[in-house]
Amino acid sequence: MGQAGRRVLICSGRQDVVGDLAARLAGLDAAASVAARPDAWAGQRPDLVFIDLADPGQSVREARTSFGIETELIALVDGGSVDSLLPAIAAGCSDYLFHPINEAELRLRWQRHVAGRGGGRPHRPAGLSGKVHLEFPSSVGYVRHAVAEIVEACERLAFAGSRATLNLRVALGEVLANAILYGNDEDPGRLVRIDADLRPGAAVVTVTDEGPGFDPTAVLDPTLPENRDRSHGRGLFLLRTLADEVVYNDRGNAVTLTVRAPCA
């Protein structure tokens, strides 16, 4: 597939990570030259670099400086290093890949890289189109990061203030929690996908899980005096109260929430 002889550098002090990724890359494209040392190509820069965020010896900023804009940087992230992902994206990573590695996700990253041919150009042109896409395993540890990224993008591309920090933040957090806990049953093998369209007039965010879907109509009113002491049942209430529009697909495994800009 794709371009012959692509140079791929894996920056990780974890030998098992290097070995696993190198073997998978070789399986994807036998012509790719995969190495764990930056001097492997006699002065030539790598085309693609995977940086292990769990390895404190790695620096995205240094990699960006040392390899230049033509080299694409992809962050390798796991549950323990997910807090480093936003800084890694800010420092120059154009994408990320979860570890343990999902074969389909790696293939997708490789196809994007080969198709892009542009090295460090982000393939998520949020600054231009207002569209942001995220995909991650079903673990509640990712909710914080995912919500933060979408809210930050909303403040940058669409609108700021409490419509972003309260309405969008809480409504999206509730949708993601439901998708992970109930939709995907917290199965890390199932993914949650976010497709956000952030424009000055409104933030429109669709969250899709891989579950069988559910019936959102049978919910108690948590504000009634007899329900206030209950520890559950506020998620859908907050979603409906804080979002301007909430639409489910027929199967019930995808919900699109809209939060409009102030005075839009």
Binding site: V140, R144, T165, V170, E174, I180, L181, T223, L242
Partner: protein
């Protein structure tokens, strides 16, 4: 996100730094329940350094408040910013919790 525990004149003060959400509400509950098991009865949760609570976090507060009341104690909240105040107003949980503007006022109320 982090939780800091201290003792302020017999009141257990829990400072929430960051978020109280689905990803850390169990940790929060275990910390407070540990203090309850250790004999603490008066609790103030300070949200001055927090800007995000979700329904799971609200549920954890409701559940803890109930457990603390069952043994004769009390849990009070302090330092909620405008967004967080709005959440408590929307869910009517402002009727369930005593909420003070800051931790000093909450501590003085005990």
């Amino acid at each position: 996100m982090n939780f800091r525990i201290s003792n302020a004149g017999g009141v257990v003060l829990v400072e929430v730094e960051g978020e109280l959400i689905v990803g850390n509400r169990e940790e929060f509950k275990q910390i407070v329940l540990g203090q309850l098991d250790g004999g603490g009865r008066k609790f103030v949760v300070d949200f001055a350094k927090s800007s995000y609570i979700d329904s799971s976090g609200l549920g954890a507060l409701v559940s803890l408040s109930k457990k603390i009341r069952e043994v004769g104690g009390a849990l009070r909240l302090a330092g909620l910013n405008e967004d967080l105040r709005t959440l408590f107003d929307l869910t009517k949980l402002n009727t369930l919790f005593q909420i003070s503007d800051n931790r000093d006022l909450a501590l003085a109320d005990f």
